[in-house]
Structure formats: structure tokens, C-alpha cells
């Protein structure tokens, strides 16, 4: 922590409670960590809440860099903190929940946690435990979460909330997000602060400054002519498959990370497929794609395992185009592949044929391993393939268990351990919010979604940004 940062952190601690809007890449994480660090040095503990596990991991890393003792700070997601409160105090919460979280129940957890946090004893627990409260990504708070934070802040009045309305892309249907004027400012007065583009320092300062300066133009309905932008590292191209491929193959070194962004997972899978396994598809935390496939498997007779595997492999590997209708028809009928020659896919076909002859989950696992290690196709849905395999394996080990429940547990672990770092990723803005990459390619800027999605997308890279769109003039939605 340098002296300037420490001074600012010290000053800001004295100005709590407050809210502050900080643009992407302007050092929000390091500022929160620095404030908690200064507080810790003064003997005061902090509670830091955010929305995503990625955010938690980023904060923890920064706190560790600043050598803030673990016992002086607790970092958690709002959902997880709510879950802990409800799990420990079900009677106060008014709901009984399972000891293992089911994150689809998050709204119930948060509502229950509001009741818990209101209790006299829990107010004391909060105030005895923490002097300062920090909440990050406040723009993503729905009203229930906002209520929970208000209750906690009643016990920890020295509270600061951080956010950026331009990055609010968690528009879950049916939930109302906080309105800053109506909900935030009355409790947490706005703090005015000069923002500096920290993320781009030493990488591409001009890109950072441009992104900062661009903010006032990023309002719904405005247009932006990308052909007029002249910033080092910035490039606009008319959208085409070839343009994506060219841009993606431009990066030779694996030292630098590259992110390709589409709006939907299906687009990502297609892009990754076309790139032939050089980029991997990032899955959402719940693993919806895997859940859908496992649901199909669970409803299938053993006779259908081989067909299921063929289809699943086709959706995870490139180079399996030859596993085409004639093959699939045979599988559907439960017949072998006699007379069908597929040069280069011998091992894969043998695995499918073997599974068709002697179908069982154990053999399904063996077939998946055989297909992956044969390397006859190139795996681009690495996450989906491996976690699905692990879920099936768990049921082979413990017959009677549910594959999808096991998948949930595997995916849940990810929330705490963090994702395996992949240098080349195809993803969606929602999944990479808060993450940093060296380079980003925005595939179809016309359909990226709201202005907020657009802003989150363009602020991910430190070094270069490539935007592909049908026309150079894009309209903000």
C-alpha cells in the first residue's frame, strides 16, 4: 500500500458513512482493501460484503497483498452472509433451511436474514464483531438485499457502499434493484472523489482514460461511431466469423489473457467451436448447460446412454462433425457401426459402440475418459465436460445418489475455490463482471444488450479492445 493510498483510505474512514460511485478499473477493490487495512492497523475489524464470489476472491487477494490479518476482516457475498445468518438462526429468520445452500433460494435467505439482523442479539453480534461495513457492487442490490444491509448498518453505522450504476447488469426478472436517489443517498450520502484509471496503468493508460471519458456518452439512446475512435489498442471491425477468427488468433503468447464476449452461451459455444478448442467456454456458476444435459441423461434408459454421450460430446468438442446422422441413427436403434468408416475417430466410435453394447454408468464414465484422452476432437467446453463427468462418477461411486445434486455440490465448491484460471476464454459479460483480461474481443456489439452490458464489456481489457459490429455506429440501449 503506497502512502497516497493509505492517506486517502485514512481520510475516507473518517468520512463514513458514505456512498461512492466508482467507474470500472478505478481501483475500487484496492481502495476497499486499503480502508480495511488501515482500520485493521488501528485495531478495528471490517465486514466486507459483495455480490459475487469472484468479487470476494478479488478482495481477499488484495487484502492479502496488503497483509491485512485475516481475523480483522471478513469478506463474503451478501447471499452467503444471509445464508449463514439464516442457517444459524432459523427461528429468528422464520424459515428452516438445509445445511447445504441452494442458491436458487437466495431471495428467501435474504428475506430471512433481514429478520435475523433485526434481532437485538444479532445487532450486538454485528456491532461487537465489526467497526466498519463495506458493501461493494451496490448497484446490484435488490430491495431485499438493501433492507438487509440497512439492518446490518444499523449495528455497524460506519458503513460505506461502493458501486457504479453503469455496471448494474444483474437484472434478475421480478426483482427491483436499488434506486440510488431513492434508497442509497438517504442512508449513505454521496462522496465526491476524483477517479483515476488504475487498471490500465502500465498497460494502456490511454485506453483507460478514453473509457473514463466515454462514460457521459453512455446513456440509453445515444449513438457512438466506433470508426471515429482513435485510441491505441482499440480496433473496430465489421462483424463476421472471419473477423472473430482473425482477432482471436492474433495473440501468440499465452502469457496474456484474452476474452471473447458474446451475449448468449449458444453463441459462445459456436464461437469456441469455430476456434477449434483454442478458446474455452466459461459456464455460469449454476452450470445450467450441464444440468440440462444431466437431466436428459437421468431420464434416459441405459440403452440411451451411448446416444446421449454422442450428442453431449458433439456439443463439447470440435472435430466431431462426422459423428453425423447415420451414426446417431445407429445409436438410436441400438446397432453397431459396421460398415460406417470415420477415419480419425476410431477410438471415439469404439467407445460409443462399447457403451451401446454394455450400457451402464460405469461404462459411460470409461467411455468419456477414452474419448477425452484419445484427443480425436478438441475439447472447448472443458468446464462442462469435466464437471458433468465428475457428477456421473460420483453416482457410480455412490449408487442411488442424484447426478444433478452432485453437480450442484461440485459447482457450489467453485464459489469458494474460484474458477481455474483459463487464459483464453469465451464468455458473457455477466460472468466476467469484475474480472480483468489483457485483451477483449466483443463479437457482436449490436446485440450485446443494454448500455450497461456494453460498458462492462469494454472495460474488461487492460491492453487492447476489439469491437465487432454490423455498423460502426452503434446505438445504446
Amino acid at each position: 500500500m503506497d502512502a497516497a493510498l493509505r492517506d486517502e483510505a485514512t481520510l475516507l474512514l473518517r468520512r463514513m458513512p458514505f456512498s461512492v460511485e466508482m467507474p470500472a478499473g478505478t481501483g475500487k477493490t484496492q481502495l476497499i482493501a486499503a480502508m480495511a487495512g488501515v482500520a485493521a492497523r488501528g485495531g478495528s475489524a471490517s465486514l466486507i460484503l459483495t455480490h459475487t464470489n469472484a468479487g470476494v476472491a478479488a478482495l481477499r487477494k488484495r487484502l492479502k497483498d496488503f497483509a491485512v490479518p485475516q481475523r480483522m476482516v471478513h469478506v463474503d457475498t451478501i447471499a452467503s452472509w444471509a445464508f449463514e445468518l439464516v442457517r444459524h438462526y432459523p427461528d429468528l429468520a422464520g424459515i428452516q433451511i438445509a445445511p447445504v445452500p441452494d442458491w436458487s433460494q437466495t431471495p428467501e435467505y435474504v428475506r430471512g436474514a433481514v429478520n435475523v439482523a433485526q434481532a437485538r442479539a444479532i445487532k450486538r453480534m454485528h456491532s461487537a464483531s465489526f467497526t466498519y461495513l463495506f458493501v461493494d457492487e451496490y448497484q446490484d442490490c435488490n430491495l431485499n438485499q438493501h433492507d438487509l444491509i440497512l439492518e446490518i448498518a444499523a449495528a455497524i453505522p460506519l458503513a460505506a457502499v461502493f458501486g457504479d450504476r453503469l455496471q448494474g447488469i444483474f437484472d434478475f426478472s421480478g426483482e427491483t434493484l436499488v434506486d440510488w436517489d431513492q434508497h442509497v443517498f438517504p442512508s449513505y450520502p454521496l462522496l465526491d472523489r476524483e477517479h483515476a484509471p488504475w487498471r490500465w496503468v502500465g498497460h494502456n493508460a490511454e485506453l483507460g482514460q478514453w473509457l473514463l471519458d466515454l462514460r457521459p456518452q453512455l446513456v440509453s439512446g445515444a449513438t457512438l461511431d466506433l470508426s471515429q475512435v482513435s485510441v491505441p489498442g482499440f480496433e473496430w471491425q465489421p462483424a463476421s466469423h472471419q473477423a472473430v477468427a482473425d482477432a482471436a488468433s492474433r495473440f501468440k503468447t499465452f502469457e496474456e489473457s484474452v476474452l471473447i464476449l458474446n451475449q448468449w452461451r449458444s453463441d459462445n459455444a459456436r464461437t469456441a467451436g469455430r476456434l477449434g478448442g483454442t478458446y474455452a467456454v466459461m459456464e455460469d456458476l449454476n452450470g445450467r448447460f450441464m444440468h440440462e444435459n444431466l437431466a436428459t441423461l437421468e431420464s434416459s434408459d441405459p440403452d440411451g446412454y451411448a446416444l446421449w454421450l454422442a450428442l453431449f460430446a458433439k456439443s463439447c468438442f470440435s472435430g466431431f462433425g462426422e459423428i453425423n446422422q447415420p451414426i446417431l441413427r445407429r445409436l438410436r436403434r441400438g446397432e453397431g457401426f459396421e460398415g460406417l468408416s470415420r477415419p480419425g475417430l476410431e477410438t471415439t466410435l469404439a467407445a460409443l459402440e462399447g457403451l451401446g453394447t454394455d450400457p451402464s454408468l460405469r461404462n459411460l464414465v470409461a467411455a468419456m475418459r477414452a474419448i477425452e484422452s484419445a484427443r480425436e476432437g478438441r475439447l472447448y467446453c472443458i468446464e462442462a465436460w469435466r464437471d458433468t463427468l465428475a457428477a456421473i462418477e460420483a453416482v457410480v461411486r455412490n449408487p442411488g445418489e442424484s447426478m444433478r445434486v452432485n453437480l450442484s455440490m461440485i459447482r457450489d465448491r467453485l464459489r469458494y475455490t474460484g474458477r481455474r484460471r483459463q487464459q483464453r476464454i469465451v464468455s458473457r459479460t455477466l460472468l466476467v463482471k469484475g474480472l480483468e483480461y489483457d485483451h477483449a474481443i466483443l463479437c457482436d456489439a449490436d446485440s450485446i444488450g443494454s448500455v450497461r452490458n456494453f460498458y462492462v464489456a469494454i472495460t474488461r481489457p487492460r491492453k487492447s479492445l476489439t469491437i465487432l459490429s454490423r455498423s460502426s455506429v452503434i446505438r445504446m440501449r
Binding site: 471478513h74 449463514e84 437485538r120 442479539a121 453480534m125 464483531s129
Partner: protein, 586 residues
């Protein structure tokens, strides 16, 4: 921090105990007969809350030595410190306790917030500490030494010397840590001990020792003036070589009482917040004046959160309020019940004032009023003398105490209070007041032994009921001792005499011969004057009267007076064959 409830299963002499400590009680004195397990309760509470890593346990620590039934000790603490309330300590394991001691899983606003510390020991003898939640399911989250340390519980026992040295777990070590930070603890002590050899003690340590000295003096342990850290060469290990010295004498060489007081002093200082203090046999090693001083300090200084003591000392009990007492009893099958007097503090306080030993005894004989009380004291004194001469155990040795009933129906109420608390109770009372008969019957049903005179008789009337004129005159002579001179006694008699006769002699024979009194009239007159002018209404007069009765036992033979008194003798000493001396030592 305050212990609100204790639940024990299968620990030593305790098969089962559920003890709800009254909500506001911050001084608790456990009393009860020797095998009532009060010391065991204290030890169990301490083991559940102490900051030790392991416990040396054996099969004998299980009730009936049956290791199949696990030992379970649960201690509920409310009035929690901020440290305990912390998220990383026990803040996520809080429970609630209602005013009458019912536990709830979560701490509702209406109830008191508490934690329930559970110590469980299975046949493998491995102690497992966890936080119990009512209605929750085993296994409960385990807690380590760190969390238990925040509870700040300290027990004064035979390990006290350890606390007068600087070690990692001693109170002195802890205090150094609290004042100078974790990094300083042992290292500082070791370094300081090296410096001590060189003849220089760091200012920090010397200042700390000064505080100990001040506190020690405030506890009434003589006057220390030159307390300092010094090198204890009696230990070979490196830890704990630094110890407290007064001039050149290590504190560990002082008397037991001083060492115990010093332990308390260091412990109090070692904790930022107030401690829960446990002292087994608080009188141990202390002269009465130091005991009284210590009790006074602990009850009134406000420096300790809560104190639990056991005692066998009437000197100690005398310093307490009856509401401080908790009577512990075992049914002989390991079921332990406790009883406190917070429901009727005044009545209990009256018994305590009358005789502090009453609550330390097994059986209490109450005299209805002053006359009966005095008579009982006198009788028991005389009987004791006789028994000692015969080589037999006196009343106190049998756990029998005599107390003042307080007059009228108070005596019956006090007896019922004692019965409720698990004592045996006997009341010697008049039989001239019909308004108390119902209450007497109820008390008898509840187990109170009632010793009453003949119907219509108070004690004075019973005394004279069978006396001849000569004996009546002896009674009048006893009265003279109390009323100073013959004239006053005569005046008492004349005031009560409705016949108009002008009595001028204490010779009752003359009354009959010269004044035409019948013997019955004379008896009635004397009884009435004795009652009216309280001739025997003092312990001294009671003793005189008792002595007279015992001396004249033969002439009184067959009277109700003697029958009742013989009954009392049986109440006190039992039949010669069933003497069971109570409580020898602990």
C-alpha cells in the same frame, strides 16, 4: 458474564442435575451435606468452561464408573461480553434463555442472549467441547481453547501456585499478554527472567507487579509492600521460572490463604472484562477475619461478574444473604436437586440470622418463640455435655442445629421452608393457639416433625402443669434471677392475680395455706405471670430452665413436659443405634 443454568449427566456422583441459577444472582454459595456433590458441580462447571487443551480423566469420573453413559456437562452463560459476541468467537452460536431458565435455539428479543457450552466425554475419555443449541442436532460445532478463554472463568483450587508464576496459561502470563500483546507473553517473561538474573526488571513488568500488589492488598491479604518478579530456581523447566516475590520470599512459600488470594488478584487483573470466579471451600486456609473480608469484597466490590463458592463455615454463611445460598442435595441415586431461597428471601434470612449453621446442617430444630428456643438451646447443651462425657457425638456432629422460630406462625412457615429446601425440620411449639392448627397440619403432612404440649398449654403452662407447691416456688426463684429481685416478681404476680389477694411471698405453700389458693390456681397464676412478663424469654433464662428441668427429671416423670422433651432428644440424637455421623472432612 453470568452462569444461568447448569445441566450435568453422569459425572462422578452426579447422574442427573438441572440447575437453574436465578437470573440476577451474582454470588452463589453452594451448601449441603457432604455427599451432596457441591464440589463436583463446581468442578464440572469449571471443566466445561476452562481453557485447558486436555483433561486427565479416568473411568472413575463417570457416574457409577459406567463409561457406557457419556459424561455431559452443559453450562449456560448470559450477560455476554462483546468479545464472546463476536462473529469469529461465539456470535453465530447464540441461544436464548427465558427468565425461568428455559433454553431456546435462537436469542429472541424478549429473552436473554446466552451461549451453552457443552463438554462431552465418551468412553474414549477424549473431552469434546462444543456449543449446544436447544433443539439443534449433534454434533454441535466444536470450540477450542481460544473461545473458552474469552469466557474468563477462574477456579481457585490446588493448582493455584501455577498462577503465581509467569507461564503461557497462568493468570500472570495472561495479564502480561493482555497489557503488552500476544507477542510479548512468554518471550517477555523469559527475557525478563534473564534480566532479573542481571538484577534489572523491565519497567513494564514492575508496573504490572505493582498492580498485583495493590489488588492483593485490597483483597485483604495482609500488606505487601515490595512485590516484584523474581527468579524461581525451584523449577527446572524454563517456563515459569519467573515468579512473584515479596522481598526475597516467593509468594508460593506464603500460606495457602495468601496464595489463594494472590491467585484471585492476578486472575481479576488478567481479564479485561469481569471474570466468573469459582472457589471451592472458600474458608480454606483463611482465618475468620480474612474470610469475612474476602467475602465482603467479592460480594460488594463489583469487580467480579459472578462468584460461585462452596463452604462448610458458619462464619462464611453468616456474611451472606440467604438468597446467596443454594442448597444441594442428592437422593442417593445420583439425582441432584438444588434449592434456592429467592422466592422467600426474608423468611430464609430470618433462619440464617437466627443460626447461620442451620443451612449447613441436616436437621433444624426450631423453637416457636424465644422461650422455646432458649429452652431448646439449654437442653441441647446439657445433652451434649452428657454425650461427650459418654464418648458420644454431640448434636452438631450429627448435623443438627437449633434455630429461633420467630414466634407465632413464623416458626411453622420457617419449618416448611426448610423442608422444601430438603432439610429435616422439627418445631417445638405451644398448643394454645387454635388459629395455627391448619398450618400445623399442613406442615406435618409436608414432613415437619411437630412437638407440641398438651392441648391448651403454652410452654409456661406445661412447665407448671404437674408441679407441686415446693417446685412452683423453685420456678419463682428462677424468675427472680431474670426479674432482678423478689419484689418485681411479686408485682408481676399481683398484676396477674384477679383474686384481689395481696401476695407477699414466693412460698407457694403459704399461698395455699394462708390465702386459700388451690394448687391449680397457683399454677395458673404463675404460668400467666411468667408468660406476661417474659420470665423465660431469653436464651440465658431458657438454659436455666432447661437445667432445672433436667435436674428435676425424676419428679417430672410421666408428665407431657418430659414426654415432649424426650421426643426432642430422639429428634436430635435419634435412637442410639442409628447414629450416622455426617460429613467428616469434605
Amino acid at each position: 458474564m453470568r452462569i444461568r443454568r447448569v445441566d450435568i449427566q453422569n459425572f462422578r456422583g452426579i447422574k442427573n442435575l438441572k440447575w437453574i441459577v436465578p437470573k440476577t444472582q451474582d454470588f452463589v454459595c453452594l451448601v449441603g451435606p457432604g455427599d451432596s456433590t457441591k464440589t463436583t458441580i463446581l468442578e464440572a462447571m469449571y471443566l466445561a468452561l476452562c481453557e485447558r487443551y486436555s483433561l486427565s480423566l479416568s473411568d472413575a469420573d463417570f457416574y457409577d464408573a459406567n463409561v457406557e453413559q457419556p459424561i455431559s456437562i452443559r453450562v449456560t452463560i448470559d450477560d455476554l461480553s462483546n468479545e464472546v459476541m463476536k462473529h469469529g468467537v461465539l456470535g453465530m452460536e447464540l441461544s436464548g434463555i427465558t427468565d425461568d431458565g428455559v433454553l431456546t435455539h435462537d436469542p429472541a428479543d424478549a429473552d436473554s442472549t446466552c451461549v451453552v457450552i457443552q463438554l462431552k466425554i465418551d468412553a474414549d475419555l477424549e473431552p469434546v467441547w462444543s456449543v449446544y443449541r436447544e433443539g439443534g442436532t449433534d454434533p454441535f460445532p466444536q470450540i477450542g481453547v481460544g473461545a473458552r478463554k474469552t469466557l474468563g472463568v477462574f477456579k481457585v483450587d490446588e493448582r493455584i501456585d501455577g498462577h503465581l508464576r509467569w507461564t503461557r496459561t497462568s493468570a500472570l502470563g495472561r495479564m502480561t499478554e493482555a497489557v503488552h500483546g500476544t507477542s510479548g507473553t512468554l518471550a517477555a517473561a523469559t527475557r525478563a527472567s534473564r534480566e532479573a538474573v542481571a538484577g534489572s526488571i523491565s519497567d513494564d513488568l514492575q508496573a504490572l507487579t505493582g498492580k498485583v500488589q495493590q489488588r492483593l492488598n485490597s483483597l485483604g491479604s495482609g500488606s505487601f509492600s515490595a512485590l516484584r518478579p523474581g527468579l524461581d530456581t525451584s523449577l527446572s523447566s524454563s517456563a515459569g521460572v519467573l515468579a512473584l516475590y515479596e522481598e526475597r520470599v516467593p509468594l508460593t512459600s506464603f500460606g495457602l490463604g495468601t496464595r489463594r488470594l494472590a491467585g484471585i488478584a492476578t486472575q481479576q487483573l488478567a481479564f479485561a472484562h469481569k471474570t466468573i470466579l469459582m472457589i471451592d471451600e472458600i474458608e480454606y486456609g483463611l482465618e475468620p477475619h480474612r474470610l469475612v473480608y474476602l467475602l465482603h469484597h467479592l460480594r460488594n466490590s463489583g469487580e467480579v461478574a459472578q462468584v460461585f463458592v462452596t463452604t462448610h463455615s458458619p462464619v462464611a454463611v453468616e456474611q451472606l444473604a440467604a438468597s446467596d445460598l443454594c442448597v444441594v442435595r442428592s437422593d442417593g441415586d445420583g439425582n441432584i436437586v438444588t434449592h434456592d431461597f429467592t422466592a422467600r428471601p426474608n423468611r430464609a434470612q430470618a433462619v440464617l440470622r437466627s443460626n447461620p449453621s442451620a443451612f449447613l446442617s441436616r436437621k433444624v430444630i426450631l423453637g416457636e418463640g424465644k422461650t422455646e428456643y432458649g429452652l431448646l438451646l439449654g437442653l441441647v447443651d446439657l445433652w451434649n455435655k452428657q454425650r461427650l462425657a459418654d464418648g458420644e457425638t454431640p448434636a452438631a456432629g450429627l448435623g443438627v442445629a437449633v434455630a429461633d422460630g420467630g414466634g407465632g406462625s413464623n416458626a411453622i412457615r420457617r419449618a416448611r421452608l426448610l423442608i422444601e429446601a430438603g432439610y429435616e425440620a422439627v418445631v417445638l411449639m405451644d398448643n394454645d393457639d387454635r388459629s395455627v392448627d391448619n398450618e400445623v397440619k399442613r406442615a406435618a403432612r409436608e414432613g415437619v416433625t411437630i412437638r407440641r404440649w398438651d392441648t391448651g398449654h403454652d410452654t409456661e403452662r406445661e412447665l407448671v402443669a404437674t408441679l407441686t407447691a415446693a417446685r412452683l416456688t423453685e420456678i419463682l426463684e428462677l424468675a427472680v434471677e431474670n426479674r432482678v429481685n423478689e419484689q418485681t416478681v411479686l408485682q408481676d404476680l399481683r398484676n396477674q392475680d384477679g383474686s384481689g389477694a395481696d401476695l407477699d411471698t414466693l412460698d407457694v405453700g403459704a399461698w395455699i395455706a394462708d390465702y386459700g389458693y388451690t394448687l391449680d390456681v397457683a399454677r395458673a397464676l404463675i404460668a400467666s405471670a411468667a408468660k406476661k412478663y417474659s420470665w423465660f424469654k431469653s436464651p440465658y433464662q431458657g438454659r436455666r430452665l432447661a437445667s432445672w428441668i433436667v435436674d428435676n427429671r425424676d419428679t417430672l416423670a410421666g408428665s407431657t413436659l418430659i414426654t415432649v422433651i424426650d421426643g426432642l432428644h430422639g429428634d436430635v440424637f435419634g435412637a442410639a443405634s442409628e447414629e450416622t455421623p455426617l460429613e467428616v472432612g469434605r
